[in-house]
Symmetry: C2
Subunit: 368 residues, 2 copies
Amino acid sequence: MTDLSHATALLTIDVGAIVANWRRLSLLVGAAETAAVVKADCYGLGMEHVAPALFEAGARSFFVACVDEGIALRRAVPGAVIFVLSGPLGGDEGEFAAHGLIPVLNSLAQITGWAAFAKKGSGAPAAALHIDTGMNRLGLAEAELERLTAKPEVLASIRPITVMSHLACADDSDSPMNAKQLVTLRRLSAALPAMPQSIAASAGIFLGRGFHLGMVRPGAALYGLNPMQGRPNPMTQVVRLQGKIAQVRDVDSPMTVGYGATHRVEGRRRLATVVVGYADGWFRSLSNRGHGMIGGVKVPVVGRVSMDLTTFDVTDVPVEQAHPGALIDLIGPGHTVDDVAAEAGTIGYEVLTALGRRYHRRWIGTEA
Amino acid sequence: MTDLSHATALLTIDVGAIVANWRRLSLLVGAAETAAVVKADCYGLGMEHVAPALFEAGARSFFVACVDEGIALRRAVPGAVIFVLSGPLGGDEGEFAAHGLIPVLNSLAQITGWAAFAKKGSGAPAAALHIDTGMNRLGLAEAELERLTAKPEVLASIRPITVMSHLACADDSDSPMNAKQLVTLRRLSAALPAMPQSIAASAGIFLGRGFHLGMVRPGAALYGLNPMQGRPNPMTQVVRLQGKIAQVRDVDSPMTVGYGATHRVEGRRRLATVVVGYADGWFRSLSNRGHGMIGGVKVPVVGRVSMDLTTFDVTDVPVEQAHPGALIDLIGPGHTVDDVAAEAGTIGYEVLTALGRRYHRRWIGTEA
């Protein structure tokens, strides 16, 4: 149990909800494999705690961004099939082999390097191929793929087991990009040996069966973010963030609040200052725009968010609920990660991955 | 030495520059004590590495935000005088005593709690008093201070050794708030026993001698941020952030880049994708707005910053300088933390405190 006496804020992560979200997606996609994207420390929610629970629930394939994350995941989940999305960056091929990490090969340069490494010893793992179908970020362009398929001996030496691509506009189900990218992946894959294909992340899953292919790769939806722009969120919420009130102040004459004196208080108001600020990933863009909740009542951020402190107007809350030591819900029931993101002018993914290191963290909903 | 082979990005922190900045401020303020604000893990730069070097240089008083940080600092710098800005939050007074942490008392409630705790045993440290002079965030209001000074036995029991306040608009030297707050602090302090006063953080130091009082509390300026809005930065830069190129792509037909297809490439361009994204604190608001540098040449961010990846247009850079494995300066010479902040629509403080956990970190400029 976490000792809350010197916590400035409490972050509760419902691992049971993450597992329930994975199970729901797994049922939805049926025959396709449901992988789990656990990069960026499970979007900031703690890979060590979350990934083993997903493995326990039946997830077998996991995606991380870089080698360091792969090594950490191998330690946490020895039995996992681990894909590293950035692939080898030059000189780190041995780390892939040592930890049994499957590189996602994104370019001819990476393929050539990996083929040379695989030739040297017998210990190189299989690989995944990433074909670009419209992101223009990572992945083989069509011309590169043609050069690769012209060299079947190189292709054989890297032992590809999966071919994947990434949708640019999946959260907009009306975008013509989606079908176009799917068609491109299927057409380009035809030149490769038969192997499972994958194009859908969280949002892509909800574009329909045609997008499920051999494997889907949800990340955001596991962590409770809404995979479908402008529609009700089908996922269960995972995160609750509570900040502790350090001080309550009654104001009864006009005055300004915080840095730059950007907020002016008029009339009789009660202000509560919480020990959470932008150094905790509670974005400065929430200044005068964000809000928290106390017992179902909205309490707006007043003034600028500072590095370690944020002030809320708690006038509408009963006095006995807003006292020093009481908690304000910054993220929680009725005020989701996506809601905070909208107030901050960003997306839920960035709110999650910015969650601060000073929060006392509690993981619930696991049997262990 | 850091092994760069599987680093996706390298963050170099010049501890020597931080020490030089502290020394410069210390010379500037003369007789006043120059403390060091090391909260939020030294604004994200690594308290364990930075605080001992500042102590070695002569800093004695250190400011942290919360008890956890105080405990960590006590471990790193056993001889430090440590002030905890949020003060006790209820039930954690014993932690202050156990680790010799000086609470900054911000309210009558905190003072009452601390007085009761101090009365119980003989081990309670002295305290600092925080008077609010215009932030309306934390600190004693004038009426509260009057109630305190009416009870000299309470005041005596908490053993105040410093009285402090915080300027709301110090970075704007023309703001009438500055002089008003200074006058208010001096007037209110007159009712207290004689003790050192403090009102200036980084920007306040540059408002002139009158603001130095007994102690100045620089943070931002130590870490190279510009303490003076709209004027040349007198501080030495501290941070260099380099992201590794995973892939270079030649584009010669019109196409879009990244999520949401927000950037359209026309003509012949070269694009380089780096394994740094908003999960690393490279803000999503830099999408289509930020830039990096290669060998003195600006390379703009194209498309949306994603969680683990950012794409730059490197067309203007010689081919041999922009290849997979090469580094792009995201923060560095000619492109400061403040510059990145301006492009991201925030302040340098938020850029520093968001610096990511996946960067390989290297501290330079220390003798040890």
